[in-house]
Symmetry: C2
Subunit: 448 residues, 2 copies
Amino acid sequence: MPHKTVIVGGGAGGLGAAGGVKAARPDAEVVVYTEYEDVAYSPCGIPYVHGGEIPDFERLFLATKDAYVEAGIDVHYETRVSAIDTRAKTVTVDGAEPVGYDTLVLATGFDYADPGVPGGDLEGLYYVKNIRAAMEWDKFLDTVKRAVVIEASPLGVEMTTSLAHRGIETHLVDPHPWPLAEMADPDIMAPVEESWRELGVHTHFNTTLKGFIGQGSVSAVDTSDGEIPCDLVVVATHKQPNARLAAAAGITIGTTGGIVVDERMATSAPGVYAVGDCTEIPHGLTGVPLQGLTGSHAYAQGKTGGTNAGGGSRNYRAVYVPWGTPAGKWVIGGASFGETTATALGIPYVLGQAQGISRARYYPGVKPVKVKLLAEPGSLRLIGAQMVGQEGIKERADFLATAVRFGLTLHDLATMENVYSPAIGALNEPIVMAANNGLDELRKAGRS
Amino acid sequence: MPHKTVIVGGGAGGLGAAGGVKAARPDAEVVVYTEYEDVAYSPCGIPYVHGGEIPDFERLFLATKDAYVEAGIDVHYETRVSAIDTRAKTVTVDGAEPVGYDTLVLATGFDYADPGVPGGDLEGLYYVKNIRAAMEWDKFLDTVKRAVVIEASPLGVEMTTSLAHRGIETHLVDPHPWPLAEMADPDIMAPVEESWRELGVHTHFNTTLKGFIGQGSVSAVDTSDGEIPCDLVVVATHKQPNARLAAAAGITIGTTGGIVVDERMATSAPGVYAVGDCTEIPHGLTGVPLQGLTGSHAYAQGKTGGTNAGGGSRNYRAVYVPWGTPAGKWVIGGASFGETTATALGIPYVLGQAQGISRARYYPGVKPVKVKLLAEPGSLRLIGAQMVGQEGIKERADFLATAVRFGLTLHDLATMENVYSPAIGALNEPIVMAANNGLDELRKAGRS
Ligand SMILES: Cc1cc2nc3c(=O)[nH]c(=O)nc-3n(C[C@H](O)[C@H](O)[C@H](O)COP(=O)(O)OP(=O)(O)OC[C@H]3O[C@@H](n4cnc5c(N)ncnc54)[C@H](O)[C@@H]3O)c2cc1C
Ligand SMILES: Cc1cc2nc3c(=O)[nH]c(=O)nc-3n(C[C@H](O)[C@H](O)[C@H](O)COP(=O)(O)OP(=O)(O)OC[C@H]3O[C@@H](n4cnc5c(N)ncnc54)[C@H](O)[C@@H]3O)c2cc1C
């Protein structure tokens, strides 16, 4: 009998794992279970189809079902795994005999946090996740005049922009004083808020959700700021690990509610791996476990867990979390800690910041790029960065997360060489300017 | 008497130095001499005004002459320094008394190499450098039907694209088998050549220049490939250090013809600094001196030399040379060594390469990004990179030059986290793909 790996979940984590198993052991039997009708589509594109930037849903599908058959990956669609037995090494699939495995990969992903208010069972509450559902909701959007987005989470930020682009009167309700308050600094988000205002978005910050109101379908959202009438609610609450199966099987769950894994993505149960949003992963600087990372993390963890589940050897490392997303007319991004998160965690820092530009000052299409760098006092090692701009944010975020990982200092970044070519980059790279400004401030303060 | 710094040169190096002196010692007397009518304009924009991407020359000026007066920087325009006396600590300005200095900064820049063929004194030979001259040439371009660009140097590549955009029949003559052959690999340049063909450019590679032909004005270029009739020749030969003043004063000149400087940008003469394209700078990996770096290097060196000339303290480091430029419809770039340069220098390497994309596969505007990574065999430390794409090349080049500087390995890049957000970045970062492919190749070859 060939080696058999069972994977629960057909998202970025589960499919990364399937590929990892096959790469490590081409003759392995790989079985994937998913509750959904499809695998291999990109949920990340859904907000942009709703917003009209991407013309249709069809192109979000990455591979045909045949492609998986050909790759020797046996995907069971619309099939729920209801239990796992880590002693017997079996999984229970609804209405069928237990299925045995040699190794098991859990990639059960995330759930949106339950808003925990009355009216949660009304129609018209949209949890953006499944592509088939999104295709139906997209038709409904044509009829929607007013929508409320619950929480300025990463998805909430994308959906707010998308609904506004779609011409829908959009209200954003969030309990914090500014959007993405758990990751982004207020000065980074200020231009986003302004750009939303230009798009006609109504923001309701410092506002708590009290309930959904309606007869059968939602007709208003009740908040601490009053009732907001609407035809649609996008529930973009923060992500929570979907670790129910693992917990029921006695697998160790961490403080965040995510499955605890080692650097091989192995869980507490022999032969059982977990990858993606159902896990928690230590932050590289603090060791504090993080949950709710991104699809890109899920995919990379999948490859690692899958490789190990297939008998290969691969390690996943602590994370330094580059992030980035369009927001209004801007792109925001960063790596590891901003001022808000550092302050909340009691991590001391010195700051270097600059308002730079993306091309030569005189080159058409030049855009502002604001960079903030946070460094450890004394050593001046980078501990995080935040940016708002339009061009090159994602590439800088990747770089700065790597800079945090390898302990680069403000001195290192201040003496970094950069490309200057009018159409693609300015004489002064904004990261270098920010580092130099930080050092200048320290010099003035007599601290360096 | 206040401290007095004399600066010869009003380009990026000289003005960087002027700012550096003033930052270190605000009350210093700073005198700048330039042969040109202006300082503080960006020559780098000139090709793009010729090409029509930038609408006019006026916007290339960075600051008014008054701004320098206000900053306490005394600029002497159209004034040539004909000699320096490092013992008497004076410079000789044509037709005036010798001028004393406490410290001197040489920022005399570069000259285009003499093409060394008959006909060099004909009219219609355009050396792109001075903005006033460029403004005159731009009018002439309206009358030009056929132009020849001599050498596919960085400037030659830009001017070829610009003249083609301007609708001029453009011929590019270069002795090497492909464009930018001294820095870029042929596979990186192949798409550029194809895009030039689409623009109607005639390329003449492996072709040597034999002379310029004409009566008063140039009417043809004579080459090993025959005569090419034309109304204009852009002489974009490679850059050479303009170190004549320094050499005449007995200051040490290096093997490349550039002024030798230490990490403070100090020359062999006490109190004399040199910055920018008149110097040579060691490469960070090989220690081999390089000349003809970029405006961005000149500016950073200027700041360093100026700071030290003003009595402050700042070091400049060896270089790892990120580079990038638009070329045809592409953007090319890299850091340190490509395959061609590594091979020429006898530096062994292993290669990891990938054809990636700049946004999600399904997001409108997605562009290809090809990345090649070269690493030292064994240690797998990065020694260079080359790229061709359209988006994010400059930011990746800056990052990869930093990665070379800090000794990051293919393993480090293969395990790099990256932002995935459909409009700004793909699930798989091309750098990560290239590193993983390189490691896979090594594994297959049993070398890792
Ligand atoms: C609208 C949207 C936009 C996003 N945008 C981005 C973005 O821009 N960038 C980015 O990096 N990431 C993005 N993501 C990705 C996301 O945030 C997660 O990080 C990612 O989906 C996690 O992947 P995963 O494989 O761990 O879990 P999920 O994608 O949540 O997949 C979970 C899988 O498990 C299956 N499953 C769960 N329980 C069972 C069970 N009991 N039996 C059988 N199958 C089960 C589900 O059917 C599903 O296939 C987006 C996601 C969504 C929904
Ligand atoms: C058309 C063009 C495009 C370019 N594009 C780019 C680009 O995209 N990116 C980039 O980074 N760089 C670019 N450059 C910059 C360039 O390649 C050099 O690196 C840069 O100009 C070097 O600066 P520098 O100050 O050392 O010398 P230069 O700019 O050459 O300045 C030399 C100065 O010295 C003065 N001088 C010389 N001799 C004397 C003397 N005896 N007496 C008085 N004054 C003297 C000259 O008047 C001049 O002011 C471009 C340059 C040109 C001309």
